[in-house]
Amino acid sequence: MHTDDRSAMRAKFAPPTETPRHASMSRRSLLATAALLITTSGAAAKVVTKVLPWRPNEVYPVTPVTPGGWLFFTAEEAAVVDAIVDRLIPADELGPGAKESGVTTFIDRQLTGPYGGHDWLYMQGPFATNPLPTQGLQSPLTPRQQYRQGLAALAAYCKANYNGRGFADLSGDEKDKLLAGMEKGDVKFDGFSSRMLFNAVHGNTMEGFFADPIYGGNKDMAGWKLIGFPGVRYDFRDVIDNPNKPYTLPPVSMQGQPAWGVR
């Protein structure tokens, strides 16, 4: 489906094949192409005059993630991701960690959506073989492919190097050492960049731990409580007007907070 979208997109943005007969025609055909793009791309261009665009009940709500089960991961993959995120943000005296906060569920659901296919990224290359750090992702692999292939490579690596044990069966020290090696790229998986897998899980763990709970992670706003983030409030004039006074309001998520009562 995503490949189809891409080829449709490519066809849409392909330059016109017909050679313009003279300069004025060239501009005209360019205009015609532009108009066609606007009308066919689905992003309907709209001229707003006299009235403000508003309709009653107009909202674009997020469908809340319902925890339970896996939509992308296999049970084995999920157990490994659980084990990794549990080392990245472990539960401690400050509160629950990434695993308890549903970060694996967050990653699982994200991988099934547009992020998982990098639907909104340019993915046609060319990809630099030795990119600068500022050049971002330089790979044709989508997050779905990174997780599927990366976790398989990690499983094979563990099987070969830890007497047949899987990542989840390693001791805490072994896990940390292996993860540190993956972060540096020192650990060599067979056919996959260990660093790419580490970066994917590391980035997504932070996102899941601090994103709104509606997306499946950050359960009970644990991440926000840990760092004192106020949540989806957007007016702090009262706070600004009262410097050096403690901020006492609890965090609030898109679905509210416990004081709102039962939904």
Partner: protein
């Protein structure tokens, strides 16, 4: 026509000829009735005829809007002078009879969704001016199904009995003991303005309760508040100038017109002369105060108030401000706002569920918008936050139940799509 006109100008001339032929005679304003028609246009604005006699996206005055009544939907007729589908074949007498008696030219009865119980007060001279203006409009062919009510309400003779009970025909009689301004205001408010159709409660048969005039009603699931001079529920704390500013600009005293009143302000009152607005304000302020007794506020320690306060602080306070004061000209004030303490909480529930857009006028063109929260708050939560708004910062009104929210939600969710 001179010879140096080139050939393509002949084409233009033909076009003009065709255009002239296709403009039916009624649309050409007769210079003799121009002043009369312009006077009629001002009266049509005061009556806000366009609001009901225009379908969404349709030609103005060509009818076709489905008016929702407790008895079923009534499609409004075409008021343009089209012979077949409009009032092109009507005489001035026909028009005056519809306005004053609620009857069509053939004698059959109109339903009081057309506010002839108000329009009967309009003078014959004004009715004729309105007719002259409507005759000057371009005729629009628009067939409207005028028989959409279900049995037994589709029997138009049943209006005979209704009229006997609730309809008092007759032109407006000024009160000689009152000022000219007061009487002008009374004429506009009681007649063309037909304010009471929304702002006076209805009985079970859809008639306004004469003994509760202007004490507040409900229209399209919005609350039409008390506009008597009652200090708590009505205009008692408003000055005449406050009322004029509200009708002219869509806002005054920190509150902003929304819901159906947005359309009234935008189409009608903002375009009326200041003198008429002042007269209406004087009449409403002087005609007396009436309203229910103010209840004591729900205690701040009440569980609903606690939940409501949390939701208000997290959801509403960013715009309406923690103190309920709002932001002048942009976000309506809730503290002391009469709409917050009406016995009927429909507007508060409605606006929280669907969101809303306030009136835009020439002097205040912003039209601030409130987003919809219906997707995000449950019936219980909306009941709690509305109860909190109704009973904080000096406000006092009955608490709202989840059942009331559910009833409104069922009528307003998705209704606009």
């Amino acid at each position: 026509m001179t010879r140096h006109w080139t050939t393509h100008r002949h084409g233009l001339r033909h076009l003009l000829a065709v255009a002239l032929l296709t403009i039916p005679s009624a649309a050409i304003a007769d210079p003799d009735t121009y002043l009369e028609a312009m006077r009629g246009r001002a009266l049509v604005t005061a009556g806000d005829c366009v609001a009901c006699h225009t379908a969404p996206g349709g030609a103005p005055f060509a009818g076709g809007l489905a008016l929702q009544t407790p008895f079923g939907a009534i499609m409004t007729p075409n008021l343009t002078p089209d012979n077949a589908t409009g009032i092109g074949s009507w005489s001035a007498d026909d028009f005056a009879r519809a306005m004053h008696e609620g009857k069509r030219p053939n004698g059959t009865r109109l339903y009081p969704a057309f506010p002839y119980p108000s329009y009967t007060k309009v003078t014959r001279a004004d009715a004729d001016a309105i007719f002259a203006y409507l005759r000057s409009l371009a005729p629009v062919s628009n067939v409207v199904n005028r028989n959409t009510l279900p049995f037994p309400f589709n029997i138009r003779t049943s209006m005979l009995a209704w009229n006997a009970m609730f309809f008092t025909p007759g032109e407006f009689k000024p009160d000689p003991a009152k000022s000219e301004t007061y009487n002008r205001g009374a004429y506009l408010v009681e007649g063309l303005g037909h304010c009471g159709v929304c702002h006076t409660p209805m009985n079970a048969l859809g008639a306004n309760k004469a003994d509760h005039a202007f004490e507040g009603g409900r229209i399209d699931n919005w609350t039409a508040p008390n506009i008597t001079n009652d200090a708590q529920l009505g205009l008692g704390k408003w000055s005449v100038d406050d009322v004029v500013q509200y009708l002219k600009n869509g806002q005054a005293r920190g509150v902003i017109a929304s819901g159906p009143m947005k359309d009234v302000v935008e189409n009608s009152t903002s375009k009326m002369p200041d003198d008429d607005l002042k007269a209406m304000a004087v009449y409403l302020k002087e005609r007396g105060a009436a309203g229910g007794a103010t209840p004591s506020p729900v205690a701040a320690t009440d569980g609903r108030m606690k939940v409501g306060e949390a939701i208000f602080v997290d959801t509403c306070a960013a715009c309406h401000v923690r103190s309920g004061e709002g932001i002048p000209r942009v976000f309506p004030k809730l503290a002391g706002a009469t709409i917050a303490v009406q016995d009927d909480p429909a507007s508060l529930i409605h606006v929280v569920i669907t969101g809303g857009q306030a009136a835009a006028t020439a002097t205040h063109p912003t039209a601030p918008t409130m987003p919809s929260f219906g997707y995000r708050l449950s019936d219980e939560q909306i009941a709690a936050v509305v109860t909190y708004v109704r009973n904080s910062w000096g406000n006092a009104a009955s608490p709202v139940t989840a059942g009331e929210v559910k009833a409104v939600r069922g009528k307003v969710t998705g209704a606009a799509d």
